[in-house]
């Protein structure tokens, strides 16, 4: 017994080192499950508060860019208001954002919640953003986050007033995407290298793909509004092993310089999830 204590005393530093190293490594390698708790604790609120204060100052540096972005979006939205649109036949008028109950009554499928981005990173392998909106404002896990230029990511953790967003620049982020001109369903991932480029995989070689083609979210996604912009194809590469392309996509959003975002709530999301999981069970 004495020897045991002597041993512990002699190697106390090394043992402590191993214990702390074990704690940090287990946190690192279980971070998927861990994230919600790590962030959901008080820590999320505290670091969020500091981030918010710093961001208040930081915002002044990007005011002009943000202003331009808003003007552009305003122009785009103004051109879509009903008074500017003439439909040849009232029966064939389509509004993409709405789901029909019957031909007369319609309701909003996607609800947008404006949020300020208070912290952001692009240089890590797993990048997250923090938004200043949380469960008290109605944010839930697994909601989509879009910016004025294109989609940004998915909510993965929520505390009272803050929410944590897994950005597209995350090794585990996966979004189903579509070429805007039509066919070609693929998957957007990130290879962890350049924050300006994403990878689009699983598009079969039978589809004709050109540089400059626009990539948008697919209508099959249960959270992103269909047709939201993701980026443009920058480079077309053939995958030797499979019958698909590996496409390099330039992001529409400048991730190093985003300030505002919209959290998107899909009103039909739960229903879609329920029916899909039911089918899997059967």
């Amino acid at each position: 017994m004495r020897n045991v204590f002597l041993f512990i005393r002699r190697y106390a530093v090394f043992i402590l080192f191993l214990i702390l190293q074990g704690i940090s490594l287990s946190m690192l390698f279980s971070s998927n499950r861990f994230h919600n708790t790590f962030f959901g604790m008080v820590s999320g609120e505290v670091s969020g508060d500091i981030n918010r204060r710093v961001n208040n100052i930081e915002e002044y540096f990007t005011l002009s860019v943000e202003n331009k972005r808003l003007r552009e979006q305003n122009a785009f939205l103004l051109s879509r208001i009903p008074s500017g649109v003439m439909s040849p036949d009232s029966l064939t008028e389509m509004v993409t954002d709405t789901a029909y109950i019957d031909s007369v009554k319609q309701y909003l499928q996607f609800q947008y919640l404006s949020a300020k981005i208070i912290s952001n990173s692009v240089f890590l392998q797993q990048n997250y953003l923090t938004l200043h909106r949380g469960s008290k404002q109605g944010v839930e896990s697994n909601m989509a986050v879009v910016g004025t230029d294109g989609i940004i990511g998915t909510v993965v953790g929520v505390s009272d007033n803050m929410s944590l967003v897994m950005s597209l620049l995350h090794k585990q982020s996966k979004v189903i995407a579509l070429l805007k001109k039509g066919s070609g369903l693929g998957e957007i991932t990130w290879d962890g290298k350049n924050p300006q480029y994403l990878l689009l995989k699983k598009i079969p070689k039978t589809v004709v793909v050109k540089k400059g083609d626009e990539v948008v979210t697919s209508p099959y996604s249960d959270k992103f509004p269909p047709g939201s912009r993701i980026g443009w194809i920058e480079e077309v590469k053939q995958d030797q092993e499979t019958n698909t392309y590996i496409l390099k996509v330039k992001t529409a959003v400048d991730f190093s310089n985003v300030q505002h975002a919209f959290i998107v709530k899909n009103q039909l999301g739960e229903e879609m999830e329920a029916i899909q999981s039911k089918q899997i069970k059967e």
């Binding site: 690192l28 790590f38 962030f39 820590s43 670091s47 797993q126």
Partner: protein, 173 residues
């Protein structure tokens, strides 16, 4: 100034710079991540006990993790250099830890060549482990080596600037 107060002020200052200013700069290249927060561990006084050094290293790493939302990544790396720091100091200086007063490692107390070697060894060790952990999860070997070298260079540059800033008094004397 009291050693404890000086270190606390320095820790707050450097962490603020690391989290809110240096890493907010749009990245110059995919390989470059401007890390320099670990200089805090290298600058702790010689006399600090090894147990305290480990705890401080772990805490500083955790705070950085907290802001970067990478639970454990930076904590593991800064813990590693906190563990190896006494060995490197013993290697470079033939003096017992108890013989030192409240002096801290800088070019004056260590001599400029040992100091530079000390910084380079521990910087490379920190980056090697940090990028190795990232690489375990994903990435390629070329990416690993490139990132190690580029990030190491940028870190050394940043440490040089930080050194001029914080240890100015001891130099001009």
């Amino acid at each position: 100034m009291n050693v404890v107060i000086r270190n606390i002020i320095r820790i707050a200052f450097v962490l603020f710079f690391q989290v809110f200013i240096v890493t907010k700069i749009p990245p110059l290249h995919q390989f470059i991540v401007p890390y320099f927060y670990f200089i805090l561990i290298l600058w702790l006084p010689f006399r600090i006990t090894r147990i305290n050094l480990l705890f401080l290293g772990f805490t500083i790493g955790m705070v950085v993790d907290w802001f970067f939302k990478t639970p454990g990544l930076h904590a593991a790396a800064s813990l590693l250099i906190a563990y190896f720091r006494p060995y490197v100091v013993n290697l470079l200086l033939p003096k017992e830890a108890t013989e030192w007063g409240n002096e801290e490692p800088n070019s004056k107390t260590m001599g400029s060549v040992p100091y530079v070697i000390y910084i380079i060894i521990l910087t490379l060790l920190h980056h090697f482990y940090l990028i190795f952990l990232e690489w375990l999860q994903f990435g390629s070997f070329l990416f690993f080596i490139g990132k190690l070298l580029a990030t190491g260079m940028v870190s050394l540059l940043l440490i040089m600037i930080a050194d001029l800033f914080f240890n100015k008094k001891s130099r001009s004397r």
